[in-house]
Symmetry: C2
Subunit: 489 residues, 2 copies
């Protein structure tokens, strides 16, 4: 195949795709090599999105193999693979084994009339599902939920079915204050708790009320953290992570707050070191700044006692947040904030009158589950289930010489791979119907990629398929890390 | 009492309140009388809010009777009463029988440290509760909910407890499509339905996706309509209402959409006339604009068959929205949008990945309630309950010669009163511990007040107190409309 690099790359793409895609690939002399790479990647991604959006690339169209497109355009194979991966994650493209990568049926964002109604039901479940850090849905405590509903809905006073309190139902706030104190060491009264539907909406609320213009976030973290903060009008700047967790010495002076996952850094799994825990509390106290602690899976620690909440070291300086999404199910929409007392009114008022957000009926049921001990029993059962899975996964990986750090807790592991190989593995995984995401999917856009990784959520596969799923994963890794004996035996 | 009008009014206020309040009361020669009145009212409201916010007026401080403050400042009594009413509604002031109007304990919005934790539990229920258009919480179908939970949670496939679909659970969308078609004449497939937590969040979502810069709203309507639209970045301009409902001939060219309550205008209760229904559909179709129909209480019609949804006349031009807040309970956070098919993907994508918002468990329970007929039975029972209340209220008012229009449906009535008396009645109601709101509370800020009214939500009072509550209301009206024989006999 003839390479036409630097001649007229957009024509090449146009020929291969049967449409005109403008790619801004000309070098700018002032750019660094990294800046140029990022711009080219962005240009290809934008051109593809626009062509899909306006119908030039109709649903079902097969896009060229990334190797061919890379050769034709002069872009690195890893760049093109990363762009395909990004567009698959966003729903613009679908990658299926045997049929290549195609434009998705549901990808068109156009508002032009269409004959067939759109549907999200065409997204079928992947064969090997290592999607991110979700709990296993088969563990949902159905009988407990039904029994708690019977008790809570029968016993509730009439006014529980009136307009809810944006602060959260007092019964749930009382139960949560006791639970968070007992299980996580959080220091709080019921009045300091504000109930929301999700940590995402909690962060958006904070961004609209107590954050100033800029906060710091960990260099790698959940993309929704940044999105929620930014949607509320606050910028999020990254701080590095090392073996001791977030490098809190690097906190810039310009930020009014820092958002951390101190018990189990997401996604690297590292716990913030004791020295840094003390240091960041000191930083917040002396400078009048805030720490937001997302304790997203604090209860799920396998090898020793849970790392207690950072909030306990400085209840006046830490806003603590969590939800039932990992412990119970993301299908139950209940999350909470624990606020320093002076902030409570501001945050509650920002929610607006008559806007409880979270179902009051569900709040009463969760309060019952906590009060009767059913919630604790469920967490113990879940911890045993995930610990067994963690043991299977680490044993199989250990036999192959792959060291997986930060797997002492939680529902996911990061398998380190060279940075340049990461997008290739991720793209090939999609092709083999293995759902997983590369570490770069969690990287703050301003942070250069230095190390790569594959994030494996080991909670989601079904009990019947788990070992087969792990074998498929090891086979995939073996094709890219050939000098380690990864192939399943 | 000596009047010091035009000398130094802010000093007067300062003396009476023990603090310095700046009031901008000097006339501006270019102002109209109405503009001056609005500015003075605004100035007093702002000065009071600021003084409460920064602690110059501490919680518990008694503010002067509005008659005295009016006499001292030269403001009209109605103006001062309206400002007090506004601040009571916003939570800055509380009015209690026998103890006058005081600064509320929870009113401070400051983020300065405070010793006692904030709590919203200090808001106690009013003695006579005619708060707005809420269903009676004693009607909540507890046994049906418990039975539906048992069936739905037992029968659900495992993946129902995984990450929810932002589109809404397919089971609920299927049940809702059938129900809305049967009960409201809505023309929809399950795929056109998007599930949210509330009509407010649904409108915010539309504002972020399909509205252009400006939409039209009815001159009187739910304040949250405007707030949700504006928070999403869209301006809301008013169109008038007359005896035929919203005057759709007056729709300005600048708007991309109009938000209507065609079945039962909120709060006036008027149904949009057949001619206007046809006209507004024609307007939308020929100009490529949109109609948003909030069918907030479409099922609750007492004297004849429900007015069908406007959406049925133009499913390609109308976005239909509704919720269970009136039909079941605002404690259950489920609402829906019915969208023209080309918009579905845009709206679902704007919700974001893994963000179902509404509890998936509750979605399955509602689907079960609809499918088993329990939801329809509950609505029939509710309709009978509210029809009896409506009959009691209209009979008592009719004996006094007060004509109450638009009470053929819904959970509230508007009692017409002269515009200048409305704020006096509302302020006095607060003093007598009667919860109700003046019509001006629903007026778009750009619309001049021409007629007054008292909005009475007759759903909320408890069964044991309803007749006593109505008597308290008639006594109140009698003090302000003395030439009508209103006093309870």
């Amino acid at each position: 195949m003839e390479s036409r690099v630097n001649s007229d790359p957009w024509t090449v793409v146009a020929e291969r795709l049967g449409t005109d895609l403008y790619l801004d690939l000309q070098p700018d002399p002032t750019e660094t090599a990294r800046g140029r790479g990022a711009r080219r990647r962005q240009s290809l991604a934008s051109a593809l999105r626009e062509a899909i959006d306006d119908g030039r690339l109709p649903p079902g169209t097969r896009v060229p193999p990334y190797r061919s497109l890379a050769a034709d355009t002069g872009l690195a194979r890893g760049t093109v693979a990363a762009v395909y991966q990004e567009l698959v994650a966003e729903g613009w493209l679908v990658a299926r084994q045997g049929s290549g990568t195609r434009v998705a049926d549901t990808a068109q964002r156009t508002t032009a009339p269409r004959l067939t109604p759109a549907s999200s039901s065409v997204r079928s479940a992947p064969r090997h599902d290592f999607s991110l850090g979700q709990p296993n849905p088969s563990l949902f405590p159905r009988r407990d939920w039904i029994a708690a509903t019977r008790r809570a809905v029968t016993a509730a006073p009439d006014d529980a079915f009136g307009p809810g309190d944006p602060h959260g139902h007092p019964a749930l706030r009382t139960s949560l204050a006791a639970y968070l104190s007992r299980a996580r060491g959080v220091r709080t009264t019921p009045d300091q708790i504000v109930v929301t539907t999700s940590v995402k909406s909690a962060l958006e609320l904070l961004s609209r009320t107590v954050f100033d213009t800029t906060i710091a976030v960990e260099s790698h973290g959940l993309p929704f953290h940044r999105q929620a903060v930014e949607r509320g009008g606050t910028a999020a700047v990254p701080i590095p992570i090392d073996g001791g967790g977030a490098v809190v010495d690097a906190l810039p002076h310009s930020v009014s707050a820092v958002l951390l996952t101190p018990s189990h850094q997401y996604p690297t799994g590292i716990a913030l070191s004791p020295t840094r825990r003390t240091a960041v509390i000191e930083w917040a106290r002396t400078s009048g700044r805030l720490i937001v602690e997302d304790d997203y899976d604090g209860e799920l620690r396998y090898d020793r006692e849970p790392v207690g909440a950072l909030q306990a070291l400085g209840p006046d300086a830490v806003i603590y947040t969590g939800s039932v999404s990992k412990s119970l199910s993301p299908a139950v929409r209940i999350a909470w904030l624990v606020l320093p007392p002076p902030m409570v009114d501001t945050v509650v008022q920002a929610k607006g009158i008559r806007e409880p957000d979270a179902s009051v009926v569900d709040q009463l049921i969760l309060a019952d589950l906590i009060d009767t001990g059913a919630y604790d029993r469920h967490i113990r059962r879940s911890r045993q289930f995930y610990r067994r899975r963690r043991d299977v996964l680490t044993a199989r990986l250990a036999r192959t010489g792959v060291d997986v750090p930060g797997i002492a807790a939680g529902l996911h592991a990061v398998i380190p791979v060279p940075a340049d190989i990461e997008p290739l593995i991720a793209a090939e995984a999609a092709r083999r119907d293995i759902a997983l995401v590369g570490l770069s999917g969690f990287r703050h856009p301003d942070v250069p990629q230095e190390s790569g990784g594959i994030v494996v959520g080991f909670g989601t596969p079904s009990a019947s398929s788990f070992t087969t799923d792990v074998d498929a994963l090891l086979d995939l890794l073996a094709d890219y890390l050939p000098n380690r004996r990864l192939r399943a035996e």
